[in-house]
Amino acid sequence: MIVAARAILRKDLLIELRTKESVPAMTLFTLTVYVLFHFGLDRDSLDGELASGVLWVTLLLAAVIGVSRLFAAEREQGGIEGLLLAPVDRTALFVAKAASLFVMLVMVELVALPAFGLLLLGPGLGGALPELVAILALANLGVAAVGALVAALAAETRARELIVPLLLLPLLVPLLIACAQASEPFLRQDQGPEDLGRWLGLLTLYDVVFVLLSVAVFDYLLED
């Protein structure tokens, strides 16, 4: 299973490297959304709850783009049959796609986070970095798992571009709550950890539930 998952992941990353379609688009999107928020809120700098909210909503919206494109290569080029005809566990496919999404999110965040610090964040990012990275890691895991599941669910439908955001975003609400609450203290002028444990706990629970659920259910998708 691991061999197959690695092969699929490698293929996906190779294609993304060549086409440079998803990651640049997602990154550009986050920057654009920052600008929108600047104009929409009419603020030069944000901190605390507002900063936290803007950051996470932006990242989640960018994730929607990534999820929509997750099976694009299969649909447009290689064909999902190539995978269905191989003696490969569906779980391997899930792991590969989730890992692919995880990697893409990390790439996006490498730019989006500093950009946020530069453009919109009042207090500096510096002191809070390790904690934010921890939150991001757990968040990316959750988004990757749910995103892969939603991508597969929507893969065969005609109304794919509509279904993905409508399905993904409500499912991400608990994750958003946990992340926003967790990072809020770190984006304030007077930084300090408050209740980080509780929110990380919720995030972990969310991740565990959705990883297990997706793995269990993935077998029933993408076949006929």
């Binding site: 279904i163 409508l166 539930v209 259910v217």
Partner: protein
């Protein structure tokens, strides 16, 4: 097959609905602060509980569908979810009316049950477009079941998250839904809950019976067409 027990069920539903209404109007005490409008609580909360129960039941039936491959479980799941969505509209509407009448706002963000219900409702609304954008009936059923299970698992997680957030940011807690109801209110509430639950089950069975009949008709028609073609 589905219509077994439908008549006594329907009778029980009507009876309990009548009993509930009687209790609500004549038995339950009038709330000191909110007055008569508080009584919408006896509709709103039972509706919410039954709707959520319906969503979770839909998820459980979906699990049975995937494991057995029997399409009748998918139909049961679909009807349960479909009815719960309709009830959901009622929940949001009654919740909103109650909020307006009691606190002057059409919506309350610090009411965790209402807020998480909104998220759940928005999620389940996607059930229809997802389901009906898949043409192959077998795949449609399978994907719908996957959705039902995912969404069903999501419901408790979402409530936990929203509640946690509320505790943190809005310490005021609405207490009417707590367990601390005085006797008369509790009785009225429980009878209402029973009535709503029975109503749900009756409607569920009713719709299943109708769908089953329609499917039988389609099958017969298909067989007739095959005979004619041969």
């Amino acid at each position: 097959m589905y219509s077994k027990g439908l008549k006594p069920l329907a009778v029980a539903t009507v009876a309990s609905l009548a009993a509930a209404m009687a209790l609500v109007f004549f038995y339950a005490p009038l709330d000191a602060d909110q007055g008569f409008v508080q009584k919408i609580f006896y509709v709103h909360v039972p509706l919410a509980i039954v709707a959520l129960g319906g969503f979770v039941a839909g998820g459980v039936m979906a699990v049975r569908h995937l494991r057995s491959g029997d399409p009748s479980w998918d139909v049961r799941s679909y009807v349960a979810i479909h009815l719960s969505i309709i009830l959901g509209v009622g929940v949001l509407a009654t919740g909103s009316i109650w909020a307006k009448a009691s606190w002057g706002h059409w919506w309350l963000w610090d009411e965790p049950v209402l807020v998480s219900f909104l998220v759940v409702f928005l999620l389940y609304c996607v059930y229809y477009p997802l389901r009906f954008s898949i043409e192959d009936p077998e795949r449609q059923a399978r994907y719908s079941s996957v959705f039902a299970i995912t969404a069903g698992a999501f419901v408790p997680l979402n409530f936990a998250a929203v509640r946690l957030a509320q505790e943190f940011t809005h310490p005021r807690v609405l207490d009417q839904t707590g367990g601390s109801l005085p006797g008369e209110m509790r009785l009225t509430f429980l009878v209402s809950l029973l009535a709503m639950a029975l109503l749900f089950v009756t409607l569920w069975k009713l719709e299943l019976t109708a769908k089953h009949a329609a499917m039988q008709l389609k099958k017969l028609r298909r067989r007739l067409d095959a005979r004619v073609a041969a």
